[in-house]
C-alpha cells in the first residue's frame, strides 16, 4: 500500500524505539495535541515501545470533545425545528448535549444528515430551496478552509437558505492555556500535523520560546509518531526548545497560504468556550460581518443558556492531559460509548473512547511480546 505500509514497518518502528531508549536519561511527559494522534498511539500501542519514564498525555485536539454543551444544545434546538435539514460530520451526532444527542433528534423525526464536506451541505441547500439547510461547523484550523469555502460558495450562489452553526476553535491558545495551568505536567508537544498543514508552524515559535517547551510538528502514522517523539525527547535531553517539523511531507513553515486566505476572508478570531476547559480569549473563529447572514445562531435566534454538566466526568482534566481516562472512577462502568458521561467517550478522536476501545482490559490480561 503506497504511503501507508511504509509508515507501519515493524523493523523501522523497533529501530526508533531503540533510538529513543538510547537517548532517554530521565522521565519526560509529552503531549500529543491531536485526537487523531491519540487514536493512532493507542491503536498501535506506540506507548508500549517507549522507555518506562516517558509518559504520553493526550491533548485537547478532539473537535467533538471541546465543542461546548451550549452549542450542542443549540444544534439540537435548530435540528428539531420543522423545515430544517441539519448537516453534520458523523462524529458529532453521538455527542450528548444537556438532553439527548443529534441521533435522538433524528430518531424523533428530525432531518439530521451526515455529510462528508460542508460543500455537500451547500449543494443540499441549492437543491432544497424551500428548506433551511444548517451545517454544524466544528473543528480546528484543519476544517476551517473548507467551511470558509462553503460560505463563499453559498454567497456566490446567492443562497438564502444556507447557514452555519460555527464552533471553530484554534490550537495555539489551547496549548498556552495548558502550559499556564498550575497543574501542568507537559514538557514537550507533538503538534498536530494536519492543523499545521493548513496554518504552518510560525505561530508556535513564540510559544516554544516563551514557555521553553519543544514543539515537534508530527504526522499520524506509527513511524511519524515515533520519529516525532524521538525529535522531541532529543530536544528535551539537549535542553533545546525549538519548533521542529517531523511531518515534512505535508507541512511547510508558512502552511497553505491559499487556505489561510479563505479563512481570513470569511472568519475572524473570537473568544470561544471550550468544553472542559472554559472560555479562552482569541481561541475561536466566528463569521465576519459581511457573512453574518450565514450565522445560524442569529438566523434561528437560539438562546444561549448555561448548561448543567455531570459532576462525575473528568473530561476537563483529560483534555488538558492532567489525568488519563483510566484514572476516572466512571471509566468503563458508568461511562461507556453507549452511555457517555462526556464527549471524549464519544468521538473517534476522544481519548476516553480510544482507551475504552483498545485498553479496557488490563495489561495482565493481554501479554505484549
Amino acid at each position: 500500500m503506497r504511503f501507508i505500509d511504509e509508515y507501519r514497518d515493524r523493523e523501522a518502528a523497533l529501530r526508533y524505539a531503540r533510538l529513543i531508549a538510547k537517548i532517554t536519561t530521565r522521565p519526560w511527559t509529552i503531549m500529543e495535541v491531536c485526537g487523531g494522534q491519540t487514536h493512532a498511539i493507542v491503536r498501535f500501542g506506540i506507548d508500549e515501545l517507549l522507555p518506562p519514564g516517558v509518559t504520553l498525555v493526550h491533548g485537547p485536539g478532539c473537535p467533538v470533545c471541546v465543542t461546548p454543551v451550549e452549542l450542542i444544545d443549540k444544534a439540537i434546538a435548530i435540528a428539531s425545528m420543522p423545515g430544517v435539514i441539519f448537516c453534520s460530520f458523523g462524529d458529532m451526532l453521538r455527542v450528548p448535549g444537556t438532553r439527548g444527542d443529534l441521533f435522538s433528534v433524528k430518531a424523533r423525526g428530525g432531518d439530521v444528515r451526515i455529510v462528508y464536506s460542508p460543500l455537500d451541505a451547500v449543494q443540499l441547500a441549492a437543491r432544497n430551496p424551500d428548506r433551511e439547510v444548517v451545517f454544524f461547523a466544528v473543528g480546528f484550523e484543519t476544517t476551517a478552509p473548507a467551511n470558509a469555502l462553503a460560505v463563499l460558495q453559498a454567497h456566490q450562489m446567492g443562497l438564502k437558505n444556507f447557514s452555519m452553526l460555527v464552533a471553530h476553535v484554534l490550537v495555539p491558545l489551547a496549548m498556552e492555556a495548558i502550559l499556564q495551568s498550575p497543574n501542568n505536567r507537559v514538557q514537550g508537544f507533538l503538534a498536530a500535523g494536519h492543523v499545521c498543514t493548513v496554518m504552518g508552524y510560525r505561530e508556535y515559535e513564540p510559544i516554544a520560546k516563551k514557555y521553553r517547551v519543544p514543539i515537534v510538528v508530527t504526522g499520524f502514522e506509527p513511524l511519524d509518531l515515533l520519529q516525532g517523539l524521538y525529535m522531541c525527547i532529543r530536544q528535551l535531553e539537549e535542553g533545546r526548545y525549538e519548533v521542529e517539523n517531523q511531518y515534512t511531507r505535508s507541512v511547510r513553515r508558512q502552511g497553505n497560504e491559499a487556505a489561510q486566505q479563505h479563512i481570513r476572508e470569511v472568519f475572524e478570531i473570537v473568544p470561544r468556550k471550550w468544553r472542559g476547559i472554559g472560555e479562552l480569549p482569541q481561541s475561536g473563529l466566528g463569521l465576519r460581518a459581511p457573512y453574518r447572514a450565514y450565522d445560524a445562531e442569529r438566523k434561528f435566534g437560539v438562546v444561549a443558556h448555561t448548561a448543567e454538566e455531570a459532576s462525575e466526568c473528568i473530561a476537563g482534566e483529560v483534555l488538558q492531559g492532567a489525568k488519563k481516562p483510566t484514572e476516572c472512577p466512571a471509566f468503563g462502568t458508568r461511562c461507556t460509548p453507549e452511555h457517555p458521561l462526556g464527549a471524549p467517550m464519544v468521538s473517534s478522536e476522544g481519548a476516553c473512547a480510544a482507551y475504552y476501545r483498545y485498553r479496557r482490559f488490563t495489561e495482565k490480561q493481554v501479554s505484549t511480546p
Binding site: A107, I114, I277, C313, E338
Partner: protein, 351 residues
C-alpha cells in the same frame, strides 16, 4: 479561563437509556447485541441462545438448518451487486454457516407505491440468477405494497432451509484451543462500495462489493472431511464483530495477526481517508472458518480452489492460555491490542 486557575470540569448529564430505536441498534455493534438479547430473552429458545447464524433443527432423522434475514439497502443497485442478489446471498450464507446445503428459499417483498416495474424486474431477475448460482429454488413468497413515503423502494425478507448432511457440531461452542482461524478473502469491500455510492465519494478505483454465495467453499470443506468447528460470515460489524462474538460465546481467546488479514489497496485507502477501520467494515461474501490445527493447511488449500474464496488466508489461532473471551491483534508494528465491538456503526471522523 486562560488564567489557568481552577478549570471547570465540564460534562453533560448522562443518557441512561434509549427510549427510541436508534440507527446504531442496527449497526452490528454493542447496541445491536443488546437488542438481540432483548429478543432472545423474550422468545426463550435454546436454539436461539446458541447465537449462530441460523437454527439447526432435528426432525426425525433429518437435520435441517433454518434461517431468515431482511434486506434494506440504498442504493438498490451498487457496484458488485444489488438488493436482490444480497437477499439471496445473505440467507444462503447463513445456511452455509450452519454447515448446511441450501435447498429452498422464501421471498417477501415490501414495495413502495411508485416503484418502477423495470426496477422491480431487475431486482427479481438478479435474485433468480443468484439462486441459480447457489443451486437452490425460491419456492414461496409474499408481497405487500405500502404508501409512497412509507418504504424505501423495496424491502426484501428471505428465509431459507437447508439440509445438514454431516454430524459435526458447528458453532462457537465447538471451537477448541489450538484451532486455526481461516479467512476466505480480502475484507471491507461491501461496506466501502455502498458508502462510496451512497455518499457520492469518487475513489480512483471503483470498489465493487464482495457480495457472493458462500455455500460452495463450505460444502467443499465438509465433503472433504475437514472437521470444521465453527463458521461465521462477516456482515455488519465486519471481521472484528464476528470474531468477538465467537470468542465471547466460546469463552476462548483468539489471537490475530494484522499483517495476515488481506485488505485491497483501494479499500485501505478509502478507509484511511474516512478514518474507518477495515476490520469493522461490512462484507457480504466473506467468512471465517475455525478448523483443527492439524487440518489447517489442507482446509486452506481447499478454500483456495473455489473462486469465491481463492484469496483465503490463515489469520490467527485460538489459544489455550490467552485472556478468555477476548480477541487480540498483533499490529503491523508488533504491538498488541484488543479488538472490541463498536457501539454502533463506525462514523467518519472530522479531520
Amino acid at each position: 479561563m486562560s488564567d489557568g486557575n481552577g478549570f471547570v470540569l465540564a460534562c453533560p448529564l448522562p443518557i441512561q437509556q434509549y427510549p427510541h430505536v436508534l440507527l446504531a441498534h442496527g449497526g452490528g455493534g454493542r447496541l445491536m447485541q443488546q437488542l438481540i438479547d432483548a429478543f432472545a430473552s423474550t422468545f426463550a429458545s435454546a436454539e436461539l441462545a446458541r447465537r449462530h447464524d441460523g437454527a439447526a433443527l432435528r426432525i426425525g432423522d433429518l437435520r435441517l438448518a433454518f434461517t431468515t434475514d431482511a434486506f434494506v439497502v440504498q442504493p438498490l443497485f451498487f457496484p458488485g451487486g444489488d438488493i436482490g442478489k444480497l437477499a439471496v446471498c445473505g440467507t444462503v450464507n447463513d445456511l452455509a454457516m450452519c454447515g448446511a446445503r441450501p435447498l429452498y428459499l422464501s421471498a417477501s417483498f415490501i414495495l413502495e407505491e411508485g416503484l418502477s416495474m423495470e426496477t422491480l424486474g431487475r431486482v427479481v431477475a438478479s435474485m433468480q440468477a443468484a439462486a441459480r448460482e447457489a443451486g437452490l429454488e425460491i419456492v414461496t413468497g409474499d408481497t405487500k405494497v405500502v404508501d409512497r413515503g412509507k418504504g424505501d423502494g423495496i424491502f426484501i425478507s428471505t428465509a431459507g432451509i437447508g439440509v445438514i448432511e454431516h454430524e459435526h457440531p458447528i458453532g462457537p461452542e465447538a471451537v477448541r484451543p489450538g484451532d486455526a482461524v481461516l479467512l476466505s478473502g480480502d475484507i471491507g469491500r461491501h461496506g466501502m462500495a455502498i458508502m462510496a455510492v451512497r455518499e457520492g465519494l469518487a475513489f480512483e478505483t471503483e470498489i465493487a462489493s464482495d457480495c457472493a454465495p458462500l455455500a460452495a467453499p463450505v460444502l467443499k470443506l465438509l465433503e472433504s472431511g475437514v472437521a470444521v468447528h465453527c463458521l461465521r460470515d462477516l456482515t455488519r460489524g465486519g471481521l472484528a464483530a464476528a470474531l468477538v462474538e465467537i470468542a465471547q460465546t466460546a469463552g476462548l481467546h483468539i489471537q490475530l495477526d494484522e499483517t495476515a488479514i488481506p485488505v485491497r489497496p483501494e479499500v485501505q485507502s478509502a478507509c484511511e481517508l474516512l478514518g474507518l477501520d477495515p476490520l469493522y467494515v461490512a462484507n457480504e461474501g466473506r467468512f471465517v472458518a475455525f478448523v483443527p490445527e492439524a487440518e489447517a493447511k489442507r482446509a486452506l488449500s481447499l478454500l483456495q480452489t473455489e473462486p469465491v474464496s481463492a484469496g483465503a488466508r490463515r489469520i490467527g489461532q485460538v489459544t489455550a492460555d490467552g485472556p478468555a473471551g477476548l480477541v487480540t491483534l498483533r499490529t503491523a508494528i508488533g504491538t498488541t491490542r484488543v479488538l472490541d465491538l463498536l457501539s454502533g456503526e463506525q462514523l467518519p471522523r472530522i479531520c
